[in-house]
Assembly symmetry: C3
Homo-oligomer: 364 residues x 3
């Protein structure tokens, strides 16, 4: 191995950022209704974890009690919140959660400057189509023949764009992610590292005692504004397409089988698995580690709680839990009913004792 010369650059530690209460209010388009305008904050955290000098926020009324106990110096609150603490700087905003996002960005470490162009080590097949003045392709990325990359898209280091795959504008494919041949991505699609789009569906035909592979010759189509988490697998269709509807957000380590169709704006939390050919409506939400059998229909606005397992169609919107999944109230009861068994055993024993006593008496 050749030893290359790396210049030992001095570290440049960031100066700790500070922000006055008044500047903070301006930053979030809010109103400072209490607290000294010129005092400063130097950090940020949730109400429960904040320390002196931090700004925090109350976005969820469930945590309202914490604004009395938090150690935060300043708090972003809604326009209507009452019962306020007297010792904090308070800033009213329309949406404290979104406003806090603005604060987070202000305090965040500087993002890596985006490099426009194609890194010399990237391999771009001669028939691939992209405008090098409008995309960013990182080191060792590979873009195969006939692939198309829309303007504004970023292909990070080591990512792979397969033969004839087509990406819309402003997509971000993170380091070492894989988009396989013929798959189609819309605009503003984000694929995180290690995710695999378009691996073969899992299909075999048992013949003569052996599992013979059924060719998987369809594609994956991912519509606009979808995000796919790290190490998530979305299998290509046996034929036709596996289809992820626009605005759907998929967490890490999720499995989407071949020919699955999701509606728009679904939320699939980590480690959930959806078997082949199942169809989800719009706004379907699945908690972590949910499993759904194949060839099912899940209605719009169904919410599945974490770890539930679905074995039948769910035709009505609403929440479900348990395995097999049942409507929320019933599903929760199914989880608690076994706990009534000891009491039942005791009561039955007592009945048997009393009845024996009566029978003894009547037998006399």
């Amino acid at each position: 191995m050749a030893a290359v010369s790396i210049s030992p650059l001095p570290f440049k530690p960031m100066p700790p950022p500070v922000l006055t209460h008044q500047s903070l209010a301006k930053l979030v388009s809010g109103t400072l209704i209490q607290g000294d305008a010129d005092s400063t904050i130097s950090g940020l955290n949730s109400l429960s974890e904040a320390v002196a000098g931090d700004v925090s926020f109350l976005g969820n009324p469930r945590y309202a009690a914490q604004i009395k106990t938090t150690k935060a110096t300043a708090i972003l609150i809604t326009q209507s919140l009452t019962d306020l603490p007297h010792d904090k700087a308070l800033i009213r905003v329309d949406n404290p959660t979104l406003a806090f996002s603005t604060v987070i960005k202000w305090f965040a470490p500087p993002a890596r400057p985006l490099m426009i162009g194609v890194h010399p080590s990237a391999i771009i097949a001669s028939s691939a189509r992209l405008d090098p003045s409008k995309v960013s392709v990182g080191p060792h990325a590979v873009i195969e023949d006939e692939a198309v990359i829309g303007d504004g898209s970023i292909i990070h280091a080591g990512a792979y764009i397969g033969y004839a795959a087509k990406l819309g504008n402003d997509c971000v494919i993170h380091a070492n992610a894989v988009i396989k041949e013929h798959c189609l991505l819309g605009h503003r699609v984000i694929i995180h590292s290690g995710a695999v789009i378009g691996s073969d569906g899992f299909g075999y035909e048992l013949a003569n005692g052996r599992h013979q592979k059924i060719e998987q010759l369809g594609i994956v189509q991912i519509d606009d504004d979808v995000e796919v988490g790290s190490c998530t697998s979305i299998d290509r269709a046996r034929f036709g397409r596996t289809h992820i509807g626009s605005g759907t957000k998929i967490d890490n380590l999720v499995q989407i089988g071949h020919n699955v169709v999701t509606g728009k704006n679904c939320i699939l939390v980590s480690q959930t698995g959806i078997s082949g050919s199942t169809r989800l409506g719009n706004y379907v939400v699945m908690g972590g580690q949910v499993g759904v059998a194949g060839h099912l229909q899940i209605a719009d606005q169904v919410t599945l709680l974490a770890k539930s397992g679905v074995t039948k169609n769910l035709a009505a919107p609403g929440a479900y839990t348990g395995y097999p999944a049942k409507p929320l109230i019933e599903g929760r009861k199914m989880l608690t009913y076994p706990g009534r068994v000891p009491e039942l055993l005791e009561r039955v024993k007592e009945l048997e004792r009393k009845l024996a006593a009566i029978n003894g008496k009547t037998a006399e």
Copy 2:
């Protein structure tokens, strides 16, 4: 970053393929028993999703009713099927599912032409052994020292073949998959993108309050005709080998612990996990999200339904479900028994009421 010049090739949209009923029958070695020989089909889909102009198939008798309601124009059916619809083109074949695979291939987008040879950007260690005229090694693939690649094998872009790993003939290692040092693959093994073969087993010894790593110095051996899904991890043995028997098919995101042994022709569906040193017989099937504890023996032809959890040896073939897993009938009942608790509570309450009435009477 240097901006490279990418030629903006014109798109070449495929002409929509069409196939006459007669050509279709010939394609699948079948017999057109009904329908116009010269009419054409232009697409394909399952019975439930087909539209006019599509060919479909009836492979599973469970869907027989659908051949009356499908919108498909032509249907592939078995030699023996009766009760046929009158308004469809019908083609009898020996195995509609396999025949349909042929149709799928006919309609599939053209596969990327295989590039024989080693891409100039691939790194092949000088002591690695392969015949560049008989293999395909993609861009940025890495093949370490002493590795051996059999003839006919394809190592896709960014894949990694570790030190002294050995692959048989006609293997396919997909983009960014990882085969670690000393691992052995037979012939016709397929490893999908993001899969990791030969990562360290998970073993520690608690000493002085710290988990000390137990070296994992064995290998993974994968026999002929095995397929491993995307983002699946198969750990190397602590010593000796983790062994995947021939013909076994493993889906995405599956975990195989160190020293696990699977028999031949097993099917392991997505997100299943098998803990260290467990041994599976032949033709074992595990549904999605199954978990199996370590050091267990699972007999030939055991089938575990999705989400079941195995904590003891399973010595008899057959289906099991639930956690802890029980034979199918019993396991299913265990899932439904909690639903009988409300009725039991009601009946016990009624008994108590009646008994109190009797006792009241007898106490008179």
Copy 3:
């Protein structure tokens, strides 16, 4: 594709290693208390799988009965073990499990010689800091601007070290693993292939019917002596840090949500998922496929059995199981109680029959 010339090196099969009983005792700093000093062993395995010529070990008293039935020729045993077999070579050592690790290393295939330096195909940004004479950077690895790699660290082929990420000394980043921007790793941290450190946390705000991405601007901090398995995802914090305490060991395919904090020396087995902002104490153990909801506190020394699901804080150390997770004894009963339902139904039916008989009699 250019066909490169690969020299067809002759295979160098290893001579089968053999070790005399006396050399074996010396190797493990033990005492040969029984057996011929000059006889040899030529392999190694667990007690249950050993064959003649193998050395094995008894580390766990649970397997004590096996030392009478094992086919091993030599066995490593504790200083205090009694009830010994008469036909085996026996070597007393302080810790048979650790001693066996030494034997494993002796028999293991030769490790790949470590290449010091930076492979010419690796891409190291000009402002990255590392000492090429003290690190190993493999083919096609990418190290972005401002990243820092400590001495003794190994960055394997295809691994990605993001902008301003910082690694301590003696870390090992396996092939194709991803460490994203600004993440911090301590000393002796091992990240296996396909793992992703610092992908975005999963956070959205529903506004106007669409899930708007909440920027994830924090980092992941991993302290000394942590190991992270293959295809595991650890998300960066929304702000601040996701924090893995020193000595914690994480298996394959585990999901760690944003802002999760683990204590020191935790063990997280494969396919476990921990939702955002949950905090674990020290020495927390989670079996495979465990799920933990977000924003919870898990006390020191809590052990969660495989497949359990945690929905509430666990404030007391000890073992828990089931879903929702309960203390071990209660949790196990909850899994068995449904099995008492048939008996209850039978006893209630009998009571009803008898009571009807009495009522019939008293009605006479």
